[in-house]
Amino acid sequence: MMLRAIWLIVRKDLTVEVRSRELAYTTLFFALSCVLVFAFSLVQEGRAADGVGPGVLWMAIMFAGNLALGRTFERERQAETLRALMLVPAPREAVYLGKLTGIVLLLALTEAVLVPIVAFLFQAEMLAHPFWLISVVATGTIGFAAVGTLFAAMLVRARSRDVLLPVLLYPITVPVIIAGVRGTVAIAQPEFDAEVVRFWLTLLVAFDVVFVTLALWTFEPVMTD
């Protein structure tokens, strides 16, 4: 019952997205614009400073992710489908997990393009260990999206919701940013040390487990009066 509800919500979002492709294109373009701005800030005499690639990657993910979260729920608010979602005869957790899956898929699509481009532009040898890189980026994205989906859903009815989302989201996702960047830096090192990467990956997995659980528990109380 729960899995079916989650699948239906994901399918709804995918259908809307495939028809308009609005979120995918704009999120990707915004992420690339961020990378461009960082490139102009950090490149001196034609070369990027050493080791900035991972930092630029995660900054672009954070900013683009923030935008994607805001706009996903803005779409729900404008079409007034949020009320319909809350009335669905399925557990509320299914609504949360459905939206979370949709956002993770959108960000995964963006990162699939973003990671090679950042590795290419900033000469970061991130792609040398693809399994580790995918693990770190995936767990980091899930952690960010888990907190972000809850906050974006919470803020749909609030005033000043556009500026409040990053104000609330970034301090809470500091461990994701730190672990993501340090993990990616460790992957990009010439002398690769699996222990260091494993440490950051473990921290990210623990963060994901704790915060998805916490979000599932608090989704119902904060979405209903």
Partner: protein, 220 residues
């Protein structure tokens, strides 16, 4: 106000008035000299910041579970205290660091974790102020997430070397230094309690006023 509140406020003011003399009488620390005495205000501020954050987290959890607005008012007051004492900590800390370590700021585990925790408390206040109706529950969710985040923030920031003194310094303090410290801790604790009581009372009066206003509205 009740009698105990009046005496508590008086005692708190008296303790703060005496505290400079108590601190001046403490012996100089061997390496840092006079500058070290900021510690007697810096450490109690940090402890009050942490206490207020914990109170906010617990009150928010109780509010989400029970829906009783008393817990919500306590959480809001505690968040304001956390921002206030956190600000004191983050100002006295760099002032001390500049003289003791030669640098205003350093990205070590405890300092950075405190900064992030302080920003979460500040975000709570921004949400309460500008979030519009219904922001009580949202803020409670934020406080809960912030509290759950503390071990993660600390562990992730701890990757870098920390040059903060180890936490085991306090039990080993000689009495001549221990007494001023615990005197200041008591003064700050009293200040936290007094301010919390005052702030919660303001919030209660506000809630009562709103209830009366709304009930008159319905009758008309």
């Amino acid at each position: 106000m009740t009698k105990w509140f009046f005496y508590a406020t008086l005692l708190c003011a008296a303790m703060f008035a005496i505290s400079p003399f108590v601190i001046a009488n403490a012996p100089y620390e061997s390496t840092m000299g006079l500058v070290q005495k900021v510690f007697y205000y810096h450490m109690p501020s940090a402890w009050m910041f942490l206490t207020a954050s914990v109170v906010c987290g617990i009150a928010s959890a109780r509010f989400l579970i029970t829906g009783d607005s008393r817990h919500d008012r306590t959480a809001w007051a505690a968040a304001e205290m956390a921002v206030l004492f956190g600000l004191l900590t983050l100002v006295t800390g760099p002032l001390w660091a500049r003289k003791a370590w030669g640098t205003w700021w350093i990205w070590d585990a405890r300092i950075t974790s405190s900064l992030v925790g302080w920003m979460i408390a500040w975000a709570y206040l921004i949400l309460r102020q500008y979030g519009g109706p219904g922001s009580e529950k949202l803020a409670a969710g934020l406080a809960l997430f912030g509290t759950a985040n503390v071990p993660f923030i600390y562990i992730s920031v701890n990757y870098w070397r920390t040059i903060h003194p180890a936490t085991t310094v306090v039990p080993k303090l000689p009495f001549s230094m221990g007494f001023p410290l615990w005197f200041c801790v008591s003064a700050f604790t009293l200040l936290l309690v007094v301010l919390m009581k005052l702030r919660v009372r303001v919030a209660e009066q506000q809630a009562r006023l709103d209830a009366i206003y709304l009930s008159l509205d319905e009758e008309a």
